[in-house]
């Protein structure tokens, strides 16, 4: 597997799908010119982030014209794009669609909606329930949207599935300016996490974060690619819009997994047994207390 990935560190306009679609098409042109196989956009790149009551107004079904327009372009290059997805049943998800060869290959719906501090995603979005693998002709990918990456089992599942890369579209606000190094605390923390996951799960980590400001909250960029040894191979400096690309290779995966065969030695059934016994205990407790927490 070899795939040249272009990171599109963009600045979407809040709630303006037309302007954002035009911006995506321009970025896709640049990625095609750079001979990339896949272009990755940040979380909610088509809509902007702090949507609040706009969520329902800008949500798109998979057959909506902007998605169809991008599907056309996916015949030239694979595209992972962030948008508010209106499902058939009316629920709205914080989603990332993986488009390839004119088809919607997969849609990852953010599982771990952020609902604390400045975030209110749980108020506006329904939560996804699955971490599926994208079987692309460019490789096998797991998609984690922003906060999904902070929950270890999400990337662990992709590790068990043996993905080549974890794609992480993000809209992460920059915060923490009292570090000893001239870098935002939040950026530093993201980078540490990416390196740790790359090392734990011996996979490529492709992280793309947006920039720009929405009502005073500045998104911090810091997009980068980390190899299966936890080393950075591409990075966009600063908090401005920009792009960068690097090849993610099967060779690096092979070398990492041969030198330290973590997947071979993983024992997921121990986790399964612990979960099952925990479940039995929970049920016993519920019986004792004469109720059930499950509907």
């Amino acid at each position: 597997m070899n795939c040249r990935v272009q990171l599109a560190q963009v600045e979407p306009t809040l709630g303006n799908i037309d302007a954002n679609l035009a911006m995506h098409l321009a970025e896709i042109d640049l990625a095609v010119k750079a001979k990339a196989d896949l272009v990755l956009f940040p979380e909610l790149s088509l809509s902007g982030y702090f949507l609040k009551d706009q969520t329902a107004e800008v949500a798109l079904a998979l057959d909506a014209p902007p998605i169809r327009r991008l599907l056309e372009r996916s015949k030239e290059i694979s595209i992972a794009v962030g948008f508010a997805e209106r499902a058939r049943d009316g629920r709205i998800y914080n989603a990332c669609a993986f488009l390839e060869d004119g088809k919607v290959l997969a849609v990852h719906r953010k599982v771990h909606l952020v609902q604390y501090g400045m975030f209110e995603e749980g108020r506006d979005f329904a939560a996804g329930e699955r971490f599926d693998v994208v079987e692309s002709r460019r490789g096998r990918f797991g998609i984690l949207i922003c906060e999904d990456m902070w929950h270890l089992p999400a990337s662990w599942l992709h590790f068990l599935a043996g993905v080549d890369a974890i794609l992480v579209p993000s809209s992460s606000p920059g915060r923490g300016v009292t570090e000893k190094e001239p870098r935002l605390r939040s950026t530093q923390v993201w980078h540490t996490l990416q390196e740790a996951l790359a090392l734990f799960f011996q996979t490529w980590i492709v992280y793309v974060n947006r920039v720009g400001s929405e009502d005073g909250i500045s998104f911090s960029g810091g997009s980068r690619i980390v190899d299966p040894f936890g080393r950075e191979t591409a990075r966009i400096e600063g908090v401005e819009t920009g792009r960068a690309n690097a090849e993610i290779t099967g060779d690096a995966l092979r070398r990492a997994r041969v030198s330290t065969p973590l997947r071979r030695d993983e024992k997921p059934w121990i986790v399964l047994r612990a979960l099952e016994s925990g479940q039995r205990e929970l049920e016993r407790n519920e019986e004792r207390e004469g109720g059930s927490s499950r509907a």
Binding site: L14, Q54, S213
Partner: protein
């Protein structure tokens, strides 16, 4: 080194970008702000000058007849150092016109009238020159409520609102602002001999150290006292913060309809255009 020390270059980059990007959304590329001769307005002016270009920033000096002449002198130094446009609007006639006719003699009321007259001037000049009003309130005074509501706290964009006073000073040194502006005792200069620290009853150094632990790091009262903060000091500051919450929020709207502004009509300031 202090735990409050910021990465000044990083902060400058973020704040300059913030001013440009947020003003741009509303179609503004110019700024207006009051320049008092104090460090807060000097830092805001310096950031605005970098964001919009010095010729697109109007620094307004608004002395009252009893204002300390040194304040205006320092304001002139800031304006000259930054190369921004300037205007002098004396507010004595405005303030006296109202206060004398209505028998307003109490110091605090007169001070509030002065602060609100300055707001009127800034918002009028905002309309005159199509410049957004840039705020100069720092995080310490916002938390303590040490400001006049709809007066010096009024602005469209505030680049300093998440910086403690200590950090404003640090940024001022980084931005190369005149030493006399950075070194003098902070004062609202609303009456003779006024200084912030006398009026508040504690120093910025003390309260910034407390606020960062209490607000940013969410330490409990017990933790703060164990760390050595005097319980009376902790309580006094906590009370001030709570009592002044109204100054930090828009007016309270009584909910009647199914969808009410500020309750369940939720949008950022610019959307969809």
């Amino acid at each position: 080194m202090s735990e409050l020390d910021i990465q000044v270059e990083l902060v400058e980059t973020i704040l300059v970008r913030f001013l440009k990007s947020e003003a741009g959304k509303f179609g503004f590329s110019r700024a207006v702000l009051g320049v008092s001769g104090g460090v807060d307005s000097a830092v805001s002016a310096a950031l605005a000058a970098r964001a919009f270009g010095p010729k697109n920033v109007l620094g307004v000096m608004m002395p009252y007849k009893t204002s300390n002449p040194d304040s205006e002198g320092d304001a002139r130094k800031v304006i000259a150092a930054l190369g921004i446009e300037s205007r002098r609007v004396e507010i004595s006639a405005m303030v006296d016109g109202y206060c004398d006719a209505n028998g307003v003699t109490e110091r605090i009321r007169r001070g509030n009238v002065m602060a609100r007259c300055r707001m009127i001037v800034l918002y009028d000049l905002s309309a005159e020159g199509r410049g957004l009003v840039i705020g100069t309130s720092n995080k310490t005074e916002i938390l303590l409520g040490y400001s006049t509501q709809f007066g010096d706290s009024a602005s469209a964009l505030n680049p300093l609102g998440d910086l403690y006073k200590h950090q404003v000073w640090q940024l001022a040194r980084h931005l190369g602002l005149p030493a006399s502006v950075i070194e003098k005792a902070p004062s609202a200069d609303l009456f003779e001999g006024q200084t912030d620290e006398n009026e508040l009853g504690f120093t910025y150094a003390e309260v910034d150290r407390l606020l960062v632990r209490m607000i940013d790091e969410r330490c409990s009262r017990d933790e703060l006292v164990r760390e050595g903060f005097a319980p009376e000091f902790v309580d006094k500051v906590a009370r001030r913060i709570a009592l002044n919450q109204y100054k930090r929020l828009p007016p309270v709207i009584a909910k009647l309809s199914p969808r009410s502004v500020n309750h369940d009509f939720r949008y950022l300031r610019s959307w969809g255009h």
